[in-house]
Structures are given as structure tokens and as C-alpha cells.
Symmetry: C2
Subunit: 370 residues, 2 copies
Amino acid sequence: MIQQAEHSLMVQAEPLTIFCQRAFQALDVPPEDAAITAEVLVAANLRGIDSHGVARLRRYVDGLRQGVMRPRPQVNILYETPLTALVDGGGGLGQPIGVRAMRLAIAKAKAHGAGFVAVCNSNHYGIAGYYAMMALEHNLIGLSLTNSGPYVVPTFGREAILGTNPISVAVPAGRERPFVLDMSTAVITLGTLEVYRRRGQELLPGWATDAQGEPTTSAAEVLHNLADRAGGGIMPLGGMDEEHGGHKGYGLALLVDILCGVLPDAGYLDRIYLKDETGHSLPANVGHFFGALRIDAFRPLDDFRATMDAFIHRVKSSAQARGQSRIFIHGEKEFEMAEKRRREGIPLGPQVVASLGEIAAELDVEFDLG
Amino acid sequence: MIQQAEHSLMVQAEPLTIFCQRAFQALDVPPEDAAITAEVLVAANLRGIDSHGVARLRRYVDGLRQGVMRPRPQVNILYETPLTALVDGGGGLGQPIGVRAMRLAIAKAKAHGAGFVAVCNSNHYGIAGYYAMMALEHNLIGLSLTNSGPYVVPTFGREAILGTNPISVAVPAGRERPFVLDMSTAVITLGTLEVYRRRGQELLPGWATDAQGEPTTSAAEVLHNLADRAGGGIMPLGGMDEEHGGHKGYGLALLVDILCGVLPDAGYLDRIYLKDETGHSLPANVGHFFGALRIDAFRPLDDFRATMDAFIHRVKSSAQARGQSRIFIHGEKEFEMAEKRRREGIPLGPQVVASLGEIAAELDVEFDLG
């Protein structure tokens, strides 16, 4: 996780959410969709994933203004069975499309045992974990996948044709917190490259390659090459070769793109976020895949919860490596961060505050963060 | 992949399969179960995954003789819905249990769109990919997961409480070969440690830790510590820290164990392959999770196949890194190896041949590899 800059403004989640919602409404997004999108953005900040939080509001504002994202999309269910659906998001914001698609998967799972919804023609949907976690209150296992812009290079390749294609799975427990895996299938994110460039720090080995597909430690070079599509980019989870399993991260990235891009006939690989001949962005055609599975279709829920608690307890009570004080379960850091930030507020760096202020002025929206 | 020793004997798949089948039948395994187990073992050799092939026959023979694996298990469906089933494998061989559970998942998917079968009380089932690939001829996406003995250390930990917990997903294509991901969630396998010990080679950084949870390059030390459960072991995919995403491999390993261990109430973490007070092995209580998903529950199959072909073609035709000549899709190397070995035979090292000869003598089974 990237640390916030110093001199942060501490802002409560509620006024921040209300501000974002107003901004979306000023761009003709209907109130419910605006509320959903605002909530997903602020949920990222609460969980400490600031790269996917309100710092991205500018991107959505510009997308809506330029017509790349549609405020009132025509969302269509193109095909449906009791267990499955294929949804065309109509080029709308990824968050309301994602929330409704996940609700549909949940309803199907509650009725039949499992539900899967594939989505095409959507946009960036924020943190994958938000949708997987929607399953928890229904005592379901939740799955959320999305493809994304191409920044990642396949094993033995030098073209960035893969997204950071995250995988999120949420599983309820009993007295313990749920297990929430929310991971990109790349070794680092674009945000990490940006932080290293800003700090002038050298990249670690195994993170990125240059235009020839050879290792590089220069974040500036990698970002420059990615912008020019000159070759090179971020490595898959496992690094640049098979020795440390880079082909596994590459395989997971392909799998996510098969389910999110190929299955719903969305954009995939570098056929996503395309531009026309004049350099104008076309609709991104991002694809998602959502799933929900009933635990009690296998075993009584309370028995499962008790075993999950014992499982989590065994992992957390296992011996630590020298110098370490704690073993974490996935989601635990984020739940603790959310509790802390609900109490103390969300720290927003000066650049983010300035960007929100500019958006407020542009859209003539009240800017009162509390 | 580990190269075979020199002076290998080239053996055709068919006589090797027949030999293994006879060995299992001599141990009171019914003919169909013996045939399935033999086929899964030889399929590993054909695909070049020799660590999971007939080199393991000794382990199964000993397991059956010692009563840890049951030749004629009482397999029970403990709970079933149209989409799901929970199966008790009765302590039998993992392969016939796995094949029947995957067949059940496939039948459910064909009838309803998706099928999931969780299995407890099983044993080592060989290569995960065999079961996922069973879905291909039915035009389904196949999923196969298993937990396994504890050799892998969680991030920040020093106890090997995680299995190498593989993930396999198979997806049909059109004219292109299917996508077959079959990966352990650890950075290396136990087999790699054994090869490095035999060769006296130093382990690469990020592969393993010592008893204190600190990096080590000694395979002998790691294997010794694992045998004594003294601390340390193999790292998850991504290595020992969060900088290269070790927490992601660790999270995937937990996810596999939740679906294979917790969900079906099988063994999990280090509560698998247990021994009693006198040091005798108890039933392993390995758990598996199988899934199948209908593609045409989302989109016409032929459309999907055509998009898969375009997807695969785009990846394979992307530019290679300097010094590389080819970009692989997952499963491709194994399909090519299987074609080669069906033609030229399977190379068996002298140790493996000797071990099969000993088994033949012990069981009074004809040993004619052709």
C-alpha cells in the first residue's frame, strides 16, 4: 500500500461520498447511480486502497464529459438463464453496472445455488473487492473479476497486452472477519510505478521490463514506454521468467481476460480503451465477471462458519518469521483500516484535495468536506 | 519442468498404463478404478509433468498396502442439490474419486448451466489439469482444485502450514488448442527442492526460508526442516514478502484450501496427512473442489470459440522479448509434449524403471513395458 503524502486533510467518509454523488449528478448521472459510484469510490479510500478512491474522480468526470462514459446508459440483459446472464453495460459507469450485475448473480445464487453474470461494454469499476464482498451479507461466496487497460507483459514477451486483471473472492466466516482476497494478477500496479517515478527510486528486480523486454529499474522509462506503447511494461505476478512463476501470474491474467473479455464479447488484451484515428477515446468496452455460490448447497452454514474460524485461527496463530509480529488473513488489514478511517477520517493529500476543488468549481457543486 | 536423467528408457504410454493398472488390481483395486488411476498417472508423464507420473506409483502402492488408502472405498454423496454435491471419498484413491466427482460436476453443468462438487476424505489425485480438461469435450469450462501436504509458509510466517494447492482451469477454443492453466500456488514444488539437493545447486532467492523464516539457498536444509517440521519451507507464488506479491500466492493458497478443505470439511492446512502417536499415517483426508460452467449459458458456443481463437492468436503473435523465440499459451507446451511422447514414447529414468520393477516383483505382476 502506498503511504499518503504528509499534510493530509482528514475527511469523513460521509461528506466525501455526498460530494462525489453531487459531482456525478451534475454530470447527469441519475441519483441512485451517482450514490453507488460515490460509495464504491469512498469504500476504496476507507479500505486504504487510495489509488482506486476519490483520486480517480477526475478520470470519471472527464470520461462522462467526453462522452466515453455514458451517464444514463441503456443497460440490457442480452441473454439469461436461471443461473447466468450476459449484460451489456451500455457504456455506463462501471460501478452501478457492477453493483446491479452482482445483485443479479446473488439473486440467482440464492434461488438456485450459484449465479454468474458476465458484463461487456462497461468501464473501470473501482475495487474488485467491493462486489465480491456484496455476497457476504447473503452468506454466499462472492467472486468479482475485471479486465483493464494493457500495462502487463506476457512471459517471454515485450508488448504490454495484459491488464492488471484483478481477482477478488470473499468468503464469510463466523466470529472471525471474512476472508477477502482482492489482488491484481500483476507484480505491481501502475500506481507503484508512478510513486517510484515521483520519488526517483529504482524499481526492484522482477517488476518491469524495457522496450526490448529486458529488466529495467527506471520507472520513468517504463511509464514513458507504456504511454507510447513502445514495448515493455509491468511483469505478471511471479516476475519476468518461469523460475519465479511469472508464467503463473501471466496465466491468471489470461484467465481473468477470458472470463471478462472473451466470454461476454467485451474488449480484451489491448483491444480495450481503444482510440479512433484522431486520437479520441472510444468507449472502453471493459468486461467484468461476477459470481456467487451458496455455502449451504454443500454443508450447513453454521458448520462452515465454525470451520472457517478454526482455519483462520490456525493460520494466524502459526509462528512468525524472525522480525515479524503478525500473520495476516486477506482482508484483515483493510477491515482494520476502514474502522480506523471511519473513526478518524480519510487522509487526502493536497493534490487530491485540489483536484476535488477544481471539479467542484467546474461543475458548480458545493464543496464542503466537513 | 525437470529434465529426465540421461540413459532413459523410452516406454510407450499403453504398456505403461497396463502395467500400472495391473499393479493396482493386484492391490484389490477394482478394474475400472485401477484403469482410471493408471490413466491419470500416465497422462502426467505424457504431458511432461513427470513428478506426478508413474514415479509416484510407489507412494500409491505403499498407501494401499498400509491401509492409508482404501482400494474399495465406500464413496458417499453426503449432500446434493441440482447444481452441487458434497462427496465423501471414503479414503480411496484420489483419481477414481476425482474422475467421478468431475463427471458429476459436468453432468450438473450440462443439465443446469453450472455444477460444483466438493470432496472430502480423498487422497492425492495426481495432476489437477486432468480433471479440468475433462470438461473440454463437453464444451464446458472446467475447474479443478486440491489441497495437499503442508510445505509452504504464509507471508511473514515460518511454519509450513500451506499446501502447494494447485489451481487448474481449462477453457475450450476453436481451431486453437484449449487454454489449460495448471499451476501450483507456490513459487516452486517439492520436486524442485529435491532436484536442487541432488545436484548440490543453490536455491534462487525468494524460493524458500530456513527454520527462522529467513531466506536460505540450501535445498538440503529446507527439506530436512520440512521433514522435521522444524520451521521454514517453500514460499508462495510471489516470494517471501509483499514487495513481489508473496501475499497474493499465499492468498490463492488459502482460497484453494477454503474450497477444498473447509467447505467439504476435509483436512486443511497442517491438519492433513496426519499421523497417530505411534507415527503411523492416518487417512490423509485430502479435499478437492471441481466445477464446470456452460459457455452457451452466456453466449453461442461457436461465437465464443471464434473469439478465443482471436484472443489466443493476438497473444501468440505479440512481440517477443530479446532472446526469446516464442510466447506460449497455457497448456500448449503440455499438448506438444503429449504428442511427442505418444509418438516417441515416455522417457523413464533408471531409478523409476527400477522402482517399477520392484513393484512388479512385490506384487507378482507381469512387467513388460514393450
